[in-house]
Each structure stands twice: as structure tokens, then as C-alpha cells.
């Protein structure tokens, strides 16, 4: 019930946000028309200074276009998190990170080539109040990730025949990579015995280790992820792409080591989150089997941006089996205000992850929805 209420509240807040934004967009278009009219007449004292700035009636020059991929940001949000089979938990979420987009344009007309390079450093979120394991809050943060997309106005593949033959190739191409991602889910996965008990099967915990019917501390370290990308959309505009990728992926899942039953019961009695201890590791390797689809859209003025992706990762595990992992995430942001030309934007995010069972931990259906505000220091 609380899960449903939480989702309803989130949807309500999203509705308010859309109501704020939707008429705003319409008026913005009117405003653009007016300002274009002013550009020739300058009757209202309001003029378009250049693409990124405008001059107010008081003569103050202020920014009206932003690059949502080049900034240092700090945000607060209300997040609804949890396993899909359990009541969700709501808590405050802090987000921060640094991103930078570099565009390299060469040539002109049919020979125009655009490289879009997106870098992200130390980006992620943390829920300080959710502590699924001792000493570590729930978090998802990446040390570094990058995406490089190449747009060619006349893409073609040259076949090395004599003479060479150019075959049209209707895709932009690119690569992406991610190094050092740490994920601690807000709710630790249930032990398989616990899952059985929850299903009404009165499971015998037996020697199931620390996950005797309870939650087992767990964290994932994404060592590396790299994919080759194809973009059939070929928009050639910053922040607009549809990327289909295939690549490699290496993750390490760290599960808490089994604890003595007496210690386990003591921990349970105190309601304190258990420590990770000396973890048992499960290695997950996807040898060019990590598939992904990512769609990115951003308004020309950068005030609105949407980014969504789904990763389907069949992989081999160190338990000697093949498993399927699913990762999905969506991000929507809308700039509402700016103070001294530094934007404040509303952010709505949602994510779902399916982590297959390993050791004595049941599979994880991790859901997260968050809505909040962020402040950014623009780098571009």
C-alpha cells in the first residue's frame, strides 16, 4: 500500500511538473516569436544578444540556453526505492557529479563530420538514510564514463575493390565506456530461504548462512563496460541520438560472508544493518554479449533533456553458469530557474535492475523513482 501511495505521490508531482512545463513551452515559442520580432524592431528594449544570451528590458544580459551535458551539479530529491516484491522505501537522495561535452566539427556541407564526446566524472547518487549494510549508504556512482559519437553527413563504407566502391552506411558510429561503478542497492537482496519463507513455504533456513530468511548485504562493482555503438537516427545535433550498442562488461558482485548463527541472531535482534565482512565474490563477464539501446533527446535551448537506456546482458558467472542481467534507467530534466545564469532544474529519474540469483541470494528486482531539484555550475 505504501508503495502504491508513494508511486501515486510521485506521479502527482510529475503531473505538476508537466503542467508547469507544458504551457511554458507554448509561451516560450510565443516569446521566441516576439523576440525575433524585436530583433528587427527592438521596440520593447528586449533584444536577442546571441544564441545563448538575451538582454532584458533593464539591460541585463542573461543566459537562456544551456548545455545540460557540461556542468557540475548537486541535487536533492525524494526517492522511492526498493525491491519490486517488497514495500518501497522513501528517503532523501543526494546527487552530484561532473559532466563535460566537447563537440569537434570539421568540414562543411556533405563533408561535415561532428564528433560528440561526453565525459562524466564521479557522477551518481546516494541515499544517506538507507543503510543496507553497516557503514555504507545506498549509492550508485561511477568514477568515469564516456561516450563518443561520430556523425558524418555522407556516411559510407568503402570496399577495397579496384576501383574502391563506397557503399552508403546509414548509421552514425561511436563507442562508450564506463570504469569503476559502485552500486549498493537500498534494500539488500533476500536470501533464497527468506524468499521461500516470504512465499509462504515456511522455509527451513538450515545452513543458508547470513541470508537465513533475511537480507544479505550486497554491492556491485562495475569494473569496466565498453560498447560499440550505431545510431540510426543520425540527427547530427548535440544530445539527440538513438544508440544501439554491443560490447563487453565485467562486474563483480560482493555478497556478505556467512556469519555464525549466534551473531546472525544478535544482529537481527538489534535491527542494525549487518556488515559486508569478508565478502564472497561473484564475477560476471559478458564477452561481447552486452546489448544496449539508448535514446537521448534535448531541446535546442537545452532547457529540457531526456535520456533513457536499456541494457540486456547475458553473461557468464564465476558460478559456472550463464545468467541474464537487465539494467534500465530513464532521466528527465527541465530547467526552471537560473540564479546568476547557473541553472536550477527539476529532475525525474526512474530505474529498474534485474540481478540474477547468486550464491544464497535471491534475484533482485530493484526499482527506483526519484524526483528532485538540482543546481548546476555550467562548464560550457
Amino acid at each position: 500500500m505504501s508503495h502504491a501511495l508513494g508511486v501515486l505521490k510521485m506521479l502527482g508531482m510529475l503531473g505538476v511538473l508537466l503542467v508547469l512545463v507544458a504551457p511554458g513551452r507554448a509561451r516560450a515559442e510565443e516569446g521566441q516569436g516576439q523576440s525575433q520580432g524585436v530583433r528587427t524592431g527592438a521596440a520593447r528594449g528586449e533584444d536577442v544578444d546571441d544564441g545563448d544570451y538575451r538582454v532584458s528590458e533593464e539591460g541585463h544580459r542573461f543566459r537562456v540556453r544551456f548545455d545540460p551535458a557540461s556542468r557540475i551539479w548537486v541535487g536533492v530529491a525524494s526517492a522511492l526505492t526498493g525491491d519490486a516484491r517488497e514495500p518501497a522505501v522513501r528517503g532523501p537522495e543526494l546527487s552530484l557529479g561532473l559532466s563535460y561535452r566537447a563537440l569537434h566539427i570539421s568540414g562543411a556541407g556533405p563533408l561535415r563530420v561532428v564528433w560528440q564526446a561526453d565525459h562524466r566524472v564521479l557522477a551518481g547518487w546516494v541515499v544517506p538514510t538507507a543503510r543496507p549494510m553497516q557503514g555504507i549508504p545506498a549509492l550508485d556512482a561511477t568514477v568515469y564514463s564516456a561516450s563518443f559519437l561520430r556523425h558524418d553527413e555522407s556516411p559510407r563504407i568503402v570496399l577495397p575493390t579496384s576501383p574502391p566502391v563506397g557503399v552508403p552506411f546509414p548509421f552514425d558510429v561511436g563507442v562508450e565506456a564506463e570504469v569503476g561503478r559502485v552500486w549498493v542497492p537500498p534494500v539488500a537482496p533476500l536470501g533464497q530461504a527468506g524468499q521461500a519463507g516470504q512465499a509462504g513455504q515456511a522455509g527451513q533456513a538450515g545452513q543458508a548462512g547470513q541470508a537465513q530468511g533475511g537480507h544479505s548485504p550486497f554491492m556491485r562493482i562495475g569494473v569496466v563496460h565498453a560498447s560499440a555503438l550505431l545510431d540510426p537516427w543520425r540527427s547530427g545535433k548535440p544530445g539527440r541520438s538513438l544508440e544501439v550498442g554491443l560490447g563487453v562488461r565485467y562486474d563483480i558482485d560482493a555478497h556478505a560472508a556467512p556469519a555464525p548463527s549466534s551473531a546472525s541472531s544478535a544482529t537481527s535482534a538489534s535491527d542494525a544493518p549487518p556488515p559486508l565482512g569478508r565478502p564472497r565474490l561473484v564475477h560476471r563477464v559478458a564477452p561481447m554479449t552486452a546489448g544496449s539501446v539508448r535514446a537521448r533527446v534535448q531541446a535546442a535551448d537545452g532547457l529540457t533533456a531526456v535520456d533513457g537506456r536499456v541494457d540486456v546482458v547475458p553473461h557468464w558467472t564465476s558460478e559456472g553458469t550463464w545468467q541474464l542481467m537487465v539494467l534500465s534507467a530513464a532521466h528527465f530534466e527541465r530547467t526552471l530557474l537560473a540564479i546568476q545564469d547557473q541553472p536550477i532544474f527539476a529532475v525525474l529519474e526512474g530505474a529498474y535492475r534485474l540481478t540474477p540469483p547468486a550464491l544464497d541470494a535471491a534475484e533482485i528486482h530493484d526499482l527506483r523513482v526519484s524526483l528532485g531539484l538540482s543546481w548546476a555550475l555550467q562548464l560550457n
Binding site: R27, A28, F62, V64, D341
Partner: protein, 415 residues
């Protein structure tokens, strides 16, 4: 107590009526203005006089004021600079020129007037720049929700108070700094002590925007934001033996707040201020334990909020009304005597005060101060709620209060 205050009031009212009569007399006689040229010369009896002439019809009208005290013969104090120093023949030449010579009072510094003897006396007072001492009668009514029940009294409760106020206007910054130093009061004979060692408040009327706010809901627009904000802090406040908790001692070590001024007068002397902040301190339910150090009693911290205002009536600074409503919610940081850590209580104080200058002795004003106030709070340990209402009527003697100055401020503050 009444027997003491009644003669004082009668004397004060009599003095006030005398002052008013004198003021009317003074108003009838013209006075030289310091802002206009003044010629200094010798009068017909050889005494120094000050002359200020203005065209009148086809000739001149000259105000002539003695530059010496009528009683002592000494040169007057607080005179402006002479535009010219002229010899004894100048007065004769002026009289011979046909100018109409009108007896007048000598010029005086801003905030001062002159009596008919020539003595300058202060008629405007800045009561926010002074050292004061005072005494008042403080009948008090208090009630606790458990214990002895409502009590009225002590009826014959007196209070002595002292403090230092400083209020510094910075025209170039379009800002005002206010300090209160070593301000406190003690009631007798139940000896409730209230005091603050130091408090500071800053306010401004900046015209340059503090920042620019752009909005992107609708057509992009930008707005200057020049909020009349401020800040302040308090260091070491004490409330010992309040009437409802005769054995309690509260020491607030520090308080810090941000403020916003919905309304300010041009020189920020009068204002309406909203404050929000936090404080921390130590509370002893049994004040005798305080001598054993800070290991006894309870540490507390919590949010504070306040609404304050000050209104100066008229330009002379002779009447002032202040209001204060403060809210504190201290939360115990440690448990003691069965009271748990984390318990929070509410404290609400309100005060309405009027202060008016009655008379001045050697330019040191004596003012009457009337207050009505109250507070409600519960203590950290027993959670007993008390309500206290108190009235006060008393006198304050202020020292070194300068005249209120209305210095014009520049259009824009210094960057």
C-alpha cells in the same frame, strides 16, 4: 514601590510641562541657521554677536544673536563657523545701513536648540546609541500546569537593568550595524537574572541586486533580486531563576540567524524584521549543579525564529515602540535525571515596549519605559508548562546618547 514611583512620575510630568513651556518660548524667537553665512562682530555694548542677514523688501533683515551666555558671559558652545570676523565698526555700519535688526538666538548644532540664555541643549536623542541604567516595577503573573497552580505576583517586584546599545549607520554601504553589549536585568527580591553579553545584527537597503534570477517557465525572463536580508548573532545569554522555575538556569552560548526586513525606514532606524536561525546552550533544571561544571545539566540545540520591530515616532527620537516575538525549540542533546536525550520543548516570548524621553539632565535623557510581555515554555526535564505575563513601568537614564542624525544616503551603495 508605588510610593517611590509616584513622586518620580509627578516630578517627571512637571519637568515635562516646564520643558514644553520653554520650548514654546524658544519657538517664538528666531534663530540663526548654521547652514547660512554668519558674520561675527562686536555689538553696541562691545559684546560679541553673530549676525545673519537676508534680503527683505528693498533692504535687509538681520538676525542678531549674542555669542555669549547671558548668565556667565562665557562664549557659547556648539556654534558654527563664522563666515567673517569683523571689527566693532561693522555693527554700527550695519545699523546705519537701514537694515532691520532683529534679536535672535544663536545658531546650534543639529539636534540641539538654544534657550533664551543662549545655552544649547539637546532636543533629539538616538536611543540606540547609549549606555543606560534603569529601574522598573514589574508585577508578574505566572501559572504552571502542575504544581502550585496560578499565582499572581510577586506584585511588588522590582527590576534593575543596564546595558550598552550601539547602532552604526553606514551610508556608503546603505547598511546599519547594531550591537548590544552587556545588557541585563535583575529583579528583586526574587533575583531573576536575564542578560546577554553581546549581540549583533546587520541590515541593509542595497539597491544593487544581490543576484539575478532567470525564469524559464514561459518566455525567458530575468529579475533583479535585492532582498533586504541581514544576519545576526548572540553570544552568551543567561536566564536564571525565572518565576515559574525558580531553580532553573539556562545558558544559551550562541545563536545565529538570518533575517529579512519586509519594511525599513529610509535610515533603517525603524524596521520590521523576521529572523530564522539556531542556537545551542546548556540547561540546568537544578541550578545548584551548575557549580559542578558542564557534565551536569543538559546540552541543547535547536531552531530559533523571531519577529521584531522598532518604530521611532517623530524625528526627534523622543518616542520609540519596540515589539519582539521569539520562538525557540531546544532539543536535549544528552539525557539526565530520567529526561531522555532528544526531547524537544517549545519556548515562546513576546514583548511590547514603549520608551519616551521625559527630560534631560545635562543632555543625558531620562526616559519612561512601559512594557507588556509574556512567555510560555516547558522545561526539559519535567515537561511542565508555564505561562508568565509581566508588565513593567520604569525609568531609564541614558548616557552619551547623541542626537539622531538623518544623513542622506547615496542612490547606490559602494560596490
Amino acid at each position: 514601590m508605588l510610593s517611590v514611583l509616584a513622586p518620580l512620575c509627578v516630578t517627571a510630568l512637571a519637568a515635562l510641562s516646564t520643558t514644553s513651556a520653554r520650548a514654546e518660548e524658544v519657538d517664538e524667537q528666531p534663530q540663526l541657521q548654521m547652514s547660512k553665512p554668519i558674520r561675527c562682530m562686536r555689538g553696541p555694548e562691545g559684546r560679541p554677536v553673530r549676525v545673519q542677514c537676508e534680503p527683505e523688501g528693498g533692504g535687509q533683515r538681520c538676525l542678531v544673536a549674542p555669542a555669549t551666555n547671558a548668565y556667565t558671559g562665557e562664549m557659547l558652545e556648539g556654534l558654527g563657523m563664522c563666515t567673517s570676523e569683523e571689527g566693532p565698526e561693522a555693527y554700527a555700519a550695519l545699523a546705519a545701513s537701514g537694515a532691520r535688526l532683529v534679536p535672535a538666538l544663536a545658531d546650534a548644532l543639529p539636534g540641539y536648540a538654544r534657550s533664551d540664555t543662549g545655552r544649547a541643549f539637546q532636543v533629539k536623542f538616538d536611543l540606540m546609541n547609549r549606555l543606560y541604567i534603569g529601574a522598573s516595577w514589574v508585577p508578574t503573573f505566572q501559572i504552571r500546569d502542575r504544581g502550585t497552580g496560578p499565582t499572581f505576583g510577586p506584585f511588588a517586584r522590582g527590576s534593575a537593568e543596564a546595558g550598552i546599545h550601539l547602532s552604526i549607520l553606514s551610508p556608503h554601504a546603505r547598511a546599519r550595524h547594531e550591537l548590544r553589549i552587556l545588557e541585563g536585568s535583575a529583579t528583586f527580591d526574587d533575583l531573576e537574572l536575564n542578560g546577554v553579553v553581546f549581540s549583533y545584527d546587520y541590515q541593509h537597503r542595497h539597491r544593487r541586486p544581490a543576484f539575478w534570477l532567470s525564469t524559464f517557465i514561459g518566455p525567458p525572463a530575468v529579475f533583479p533580486v535585492a532582498a533586504r536580508t541581514g544576519w545576526g548573532f548572540r553570544i552568551f545569554s543567561v536566564n536564571d531563576r525565572p518565576p515559574a522555575f525558580r531553580n532553573a538556569l539556562d545558558m544559551e552560548f550562541g545563536e545565529l540567524h538570518l533575517s529579512w526586513h519586509p519594511w525599513q525606514s529610509r535610515d533603517m532606524y525603524s524596521f520590521l524584521r523576521l529572523e530564522a536561525g539556531g542556537d545551542f546552550g546548556h540547561y540546568w533544571q537544578n541550578r545548584a549543579e551548575a557549580s559542578e561544571g558542564l557534565d551536569t545539566g543538559q546540552w541543547y540545540a535547536g531552531p530559533t525564529a523571531a519577529v521584531r520591530s522598532r518604530f521611532s515616532l517623530g524625528e526627534g527620537g523622543l518616542h520609540m515602540i519596540t515589539t519582539e516575538m521569539t520562538y525557540r525549540r531546544p532539543t536535549a542533546m544528552n539525557g539526565v535525571h530520567g529526561a531522555p536525550s532528544g526531547a524537544a520543548i517549545n519556548r515562546l516570548d513576546a514583548l511590547l515596549a514603549y520608551e519616551g524621553v521625559l527630560l534631560a539632565i545635562n543632555d543625558q535623557p531620562l526616559s519612561v519605559r512601559l512594557t507588556a510581555g509574556g512567555n510560555t515554555r516547558n522545561d526539559l526535564v519535567e515537561d511542565l508548562r508555564s505561562v508568565e505575563l509581566r508588565l513593567s513601568a520604569g525609568l531609564r537614564m541614558s548616557f552619551w546618547a547623541p542626537p539622531r542624525v538623518f544623513e542622506p544616503m547615496p542612490e547606490l551603495e559602494d560596490p
